[in-house]
């Protein structure tokens, strides 16, 4: 049984809990540094990235998490979580910081404000199709050769990755946790299982 932390400072923590439980994993809320002990991986949920980054600093979690992630600790970020993991954040605040664990550039609200938020089928080649729910979603505009693109979406202006992986770090522009489909979380848990072997 995998123990997977869900960063519970702000955002849709409950949905990630439900998805992890459906997959037989044990989710744990992470709000304090001591909550990181004994975890096999961590999910950074959707929410507001400015709020989550602010609370990562005030809670003292920023540095220990940075050390863990730099050391290869498996982590998966959805939406705001993807922003927190990206190397470069465009259209953010001047003091926006991120863990710099994924070699991608993301634009905050890169698909538009809430009125442009959308849902659309996303094909994971050879694995199936999931419903992608994009809410003021970040758009991946640049990605390095070391980044594996697992799924892309063409929003009328060319293909952009929406689910990517670089070693043990996963990022997703949409919210797999908002649907009952467990496919995306399952991929992360499979990778986590392999890493533990």
């Amino acid at each position: 049984m995998r123990r997977v932390g869900v960063l519970a400072l702000q955002g849709d923590v409950r949905e990630h809990f439900a998805t992890l439980e459906n997959l037989g994993a044990t989710p744990e809320k992470v709000r304090r540094v001591t909550d990181l002990d004994g975890l096999d991986g961590l999910i950074i949920p959707g929410g507001e990235s400015t709020t989550i980054s602010h609370l990562l600093v005030t809670s003292g979690l920023r540095e220990p998490l940075q050390d863990l992630i730099s050391g290869g600790f498996p982590v998966f970020g959805t939406c705001a979580g993807l922003i927190m993991l990206a190397d470069e954040v465009l259209d953010g605040r001047s003091d926006q910081w991120s863990f710099g664990a994924l070699n991608v550039s993301v634009r905050r609200n890169g698909y538009g404000r809430q009125i442009a938020s959308f849902e659309t089928p996303i094909v994971l080649e050879g694995r199936g199709t999931v419903l992608g729910v994009f809410i003021r979603a970040p758009r991946i505009l640049r990605w390095g050769n070391d980044v594996e693109v697992i799924a892309s979406h063409d929003h009328g202006d060319g293909e952009h990755p929406v689910l990517v992986r670089q070693d043990s770090v996963w990022g997703c522009s949409f919210h797999p946790e908002l649907t009952s489909d467990v496919l995306v979380h399952g991929l992360f848990l499979d990778a986590l299982q392999e890493a533990l072997r």
Binding site: G46, H54, T120, R136
Partner: protein, 298 residues
Amino acid sequence: MNSALTSSIVGSALVKRGLADMLRGGVIMDVVNPEQARIAEDAGAVAVMALERVPSDIRRDGGVARMSDPQMIQDIQTTVTIPVMAKARIGHFAEAQILQALDVDYIDESEVLTPADEENHIDKWDFTVPFVCGATNLGEALRRIAEGACLIRSKGEAGTGNVVEAVRHLRTINAQMRRLASADVSELFALAKDLQAPIALVQEVAATGKLPVPLFCAGGISTPADASLVLQLGAEAVFVGSGIFKSEDPERMAKAIVEATTHFEDAGIVAKVSTGLGAAMRGAETATLEQRLADRGW
């Protein structure tokens, strides 16, 4: 339009409720200008509510309170990166159309403004932008959801700095949901009649034990302890109106309420952030109010 875009859907219930889900565990702050919006974002607000006057000033000034000047809303939109909400009068669908044209992220059909229709609320299904509405009890919450609201907040008594009404509304909604969850299915029809709520939504609450949309708290929250209280009572996020910018030190108060909202179960952290904050807004006894805003809405 290419095939990828034709299979994309905007304005679905999932997408509209989804933004409310993303705001959970956060603080939405009333702001009246870009400077306050910047302070709110710096403090860690998940969204701002752009309005011309905070509720305590609306209460003091009297007169008709309307939607804010679009220029002010746009100035705030260009200042911050977090979602920007704005208020329309109850039933004033033209104000809501304007707010949607301005690309606001959420519309609050709010009793804080002077109602424009004393029978009908806005048909919120008609809009791509999501709506939040206030409620004092479960029946009112379910009527708003039936009209298309994607987020429910307690009304509380806005502009008083007194949390007593918000507590009453949260406790009432929760007690009524527990009653439904424990009822026999054959009793739900009569309970729906009592609540004046659609039977399908009553059956859904009875089956799940919770609202089909998130439940936030608004109305009178003015300290970190208030935030902790209402979160422990089941609210999933808080709206703070006058409580921040009518306090002695708004920057510190804003940061403190944000931290208390995240760590609401940890009294040690709430104690720490409550220390040396300066005076909260003065506040008012709700029993002697001439006008109760919570009575607006039907």
